[in-house]
């Protein structure tokens, strides 16, 4: 609890009383939590408990789904993002996202990385090249792809593709990167690489990661939030959650008694 209190001043995202409905069905109930700058926050919980839904609320990707209703407040650096006046394009530029299944565009590696910059209107070839290299280095992919920058991204391996997606997300220099089960479709070796990468990235970015893998959450995250059936059950420093959780429920889940 102490870490949280300390970090309160550096909170980058503040969620207050968040309720999300899919049509008639409520998926998220009264969730409030704060995400600390430059830390890795893990969302854990059984399938269907609303982790992805909350994640998507943070960059308003829920807007793409029909009949979604989001109530409550989400503040990014003190600015409310859950209202119609928000520039979602700018928001999404500041809150990047990596998906469960890697989804590079059917373009070259290079074009994938610079996509966000191009659509933001950056034209200078030199600047694009520089940022592409920087992003690929940050995503620990540069050495593997530097000779095939202009080959199709669909020719990469699964793990490489996912790292390419991360590079693509960080190329637009977001504050926050949302990762929705980024390793669930990868083999253990690629998973390790991504986990290492997350450790690196936390120096520069705030990361929220949804995972089903308890060890992964324990390994990579600073804070952990445990959800169950749309409610936030427990939120705290990862160490504490995994060693002495306050809620029985959390303990049961972590020790694998259900889920």
């Amino acid at each position: 609890m102490e870490t949280i209190a300390e970090a309160r001043s550096t909170r980058v995202v503040d969620i207050n009383n968040l309720n999300i409905h899919y049509g008639q069905k409520q998926a998220v109930f009264n969730v409030s939590l704060g995400i600390v700058r430059q830390q890795v926050t893990a969302f854990i919980g059984p399938s269907g408990c609303g982790k992805s839904t909350i994640l998507r609320a943070l960059n308003r990707m829920n807007d793409l789904i029909d009949h979604v209703r989001t109530e409550g407040s989400i503040r990014l650096d003190g600015e409310e993002i859950n209202n119609p006046m928000v520039d979602v394009i700018e928001l999404r530029r500041r809150v990047g996202m990596v998906f469960q299944k890697s989804n590079p565009f059917p373009k070259s590696v290079y074009e994938n990385v610079v996509y966000g910059l191009r659509i933001a209107g950056l034209r200078s070839r030199a600047a694009l090249d520089e940022i592409a290299e920087k992003s690929l280095r940050s995503a620990a992919l540069w050495d593997e792809v530097k000779d095939r920058l202009h080959d199709s991204a669909l020719g990469l391996s699964g793990g490489q593709m996912q790292r390419l997606c991360i590079a693509r997300a960080i190329a637009v220099n977001p504050e926050i990167i949302l990762m929705d089960e980024p390793c669930s479709a990868l083999d253990p070796k690629s998973t390790v690489r991504i986990e290492d990468l997350i450790g690196e990235l936390r120096r520069d970015y705030t990361i929220i990661i949804v995972t089903h893998n308890m060890q992964q959450a324990a390994r990579v995250s600073d804070c952990t939030a445990f959800f169950y059936e749309g409610c936030l059950i427990e939120f705290g420093a990862t160490k504490q959650i995994f060693t002495k959780p306050e809620q029985k429920h959390t303990e049961d889940y972590i020790t694998g008694r259900f889920g």
Binding site: M61, D66, R92, F99, Y115, I119, A120, G155, R168
Partner: protein, 449 residues
């Protein structure tokens, strides 16, 4: 035990039935394509006679003048005995008694006609007015028919009174037995090659030469060009509309009554018979909004464009729907606006599919006849310049195939042109489809990587 083998045999029989019908399908395709391709090939590759070379030189100024002239001279030399015999015969006839003379004279007229058709006008006679009578047979295959006409005449056998007269061939030489013309027939039969100098050629001009004298000579330039303009115009009009409509239907349209109405309209449009499109083009584009005074390439293109619109919309819709949803998500999460995500990610990803649709509907537009009958097509016409397409009608491959094999004055004599046109059209359409198949194969390979 038996019921099991019965079932197995039934199963085999069933498989056999399926295989048989598939074979029949392939057989149907072969039966239709093979004659068209083989005979159509004959419009390009055939044995041309010296008359053809002379014609090309006169009318299209292609060929080596000196070489052709020596050949013409050689052929003329070979023909000399024919005309000499004719001259001798004519003198001989004058000496005969009147009834016999009259009969032989009229027989000789028939013979001369047949000879003119084979060899062209006799030396020293006046130039005929009709272009087609100024040259002998251009093609060796036609020349052989003409030789047959010189050697034999058609007669009808009425010996069996219960039936219609049967056509039989009578050697013409019988009429001239004992005259100085008697050796002419053997000479024509034996020396035909020397008189016509047949030689294999590839006649590429069939595509680029304008036809002369209602397709008796030359190629199909005007038709090819007309089909090109009509197809191009239709695509210019239909492709943007079709792709935009598909984008709307896939990316923007919600499930409401308006959009389901639009969808129904598109499928109704797909079912409208092509001749009705033609009538509509006449009633609307020409008679109502007067895009042109009467038939024009423009009106035809618009009509054809309308015809292929539903095909295009459907193909593009399918291609757009096949693009994984995740591409759009990724683009949006990188800060792309919905429209940007469509133009930069979804459309490029759907492009091969859309291209396939475009290419296939291009083939459709090129081959359709009914819609252009009342809106754009004429039987005879010159190749158009681009500007004239706005106001002028044009010949087109599809229409002129119909026209040449039903309404032409000498249907049988220009079979090779008809086959050549069908060949060109079919090949064009099949090549377009082939490229569609290639595009699709590329696409599926790319997706598999």
């Amino acid at each position: 035990m038996s019921s099991r083998s019965t079932r197995r045999i039934l199963d085999r029989a069933f498989t056999g039935l399926g295989g048989f019908s598939t074979l029949l399908l392939a057989a149907a395709l072969l039966v239709i394509l093979v004659p068209i391709l083989i005979k159509g090939f004959g419009a390009f590759v055939f044995r041309e006679t010296v008359e053809h070379r002379r014609m090309l030189l006169d009318l299209y100024e292609t060929g080596d003048r000196a070489a052709v002239e020596t050949e013409v001279a050689a052929a003329a030399k070979a023909r000399e005995p024919v005309y000499a015999m004719l001259g001798a015969f004519k003198k001989e006839v004058e000496a005969l008694p009147a009834p016999e003379r009259r009969k032989l004279k009229s027989d000789c007229k028939d013979l001369e006609k047949a000879l003119n058709s084979l060899l062209g006008p006799a030396p020293g006679t006046t130039q005929p007015i009709l272009l087609r009578q100024r040259y002998g047979q251009n093609r060796w295959d036609r020349a052989q028919v003409a030789i047959g006409k010189v050697l034999y005449e058609e007669a009808y056998d009425y010996s069996d009174s219960s039936q219609m007269g049967k056509k039989i061939l009578v050697p013409r030489v019988e009429r001239f037995r004992g005259t100085s013309l008697e050796p002419l027939f053997d000479y024509v039969r034996d020396q035909s090659k020397a008189m016509l100098l047949p030689r294999w050629i590839f006649y590429g001009g069939f595509l680029t030469h304008t036809s002369r004298d209602a397709h008796f000579f030359g190629g199909i330039r005007a038709e090819v060009l007309g089909t090109f303009y009509l197809t191009l115009g239709a695509m210019l009009f239909a492709v943007p509309m079709g792709v935009i409509a598909a984008i709307y239907l896939v990316e923007y349209a919600r499930d409401n009554w308006l959009n389901s109405l639009i969808r129904s309209c598109v499928s109704t449009l797909a079912g409208v018979p092509s001749i009705v499109f033609g009538l509509f083009g006449l009633a609307f584009f020409i008679n109502t909004i007067h895009v042109s005074g009467s038939k024009s390439v423009l009106a035809g293109s618009l009509t054809l464009g309308l015809l292929i619109l539903p095909t295009l919309i459907r193909a593009s819709e399918e291609a757009l729907r096949a693009v994984p949803h995740t591409y759009k998500q990724a683009a949006l999460s990188l800060g792309a606006s919905p429209w940007k995500s469509i133009t930069t990610v979804i459309l490029p990803a759907a492009l091969p599919g859309i291209l396939t649709g475009i290419v296939i509907s291009m083939g459709r537009a090129a081959g359709e006849t009914a819609p252009i009958i009342f809106t754009a097509a004429v039987s005879v016409g010159q190749p158009l310049t681009l500007l004239k397409t706005l106001t002028q009608p044009t010949p087109a491959l599809s229409w002129n195939i119909y026209n040449l094999c039903t309404e032409h004055e000498a249907v049988d004599e220009i079979r090779h042109v008809q086959y050549g046109m069908v060949f060109t059209l079919v090949l064009l359409v099949l090549l377009l489809n082939l490229s569609a198949i290639v595009i699709r194969a590329r696409l599926s390979r790319k997706l598999r990587v």
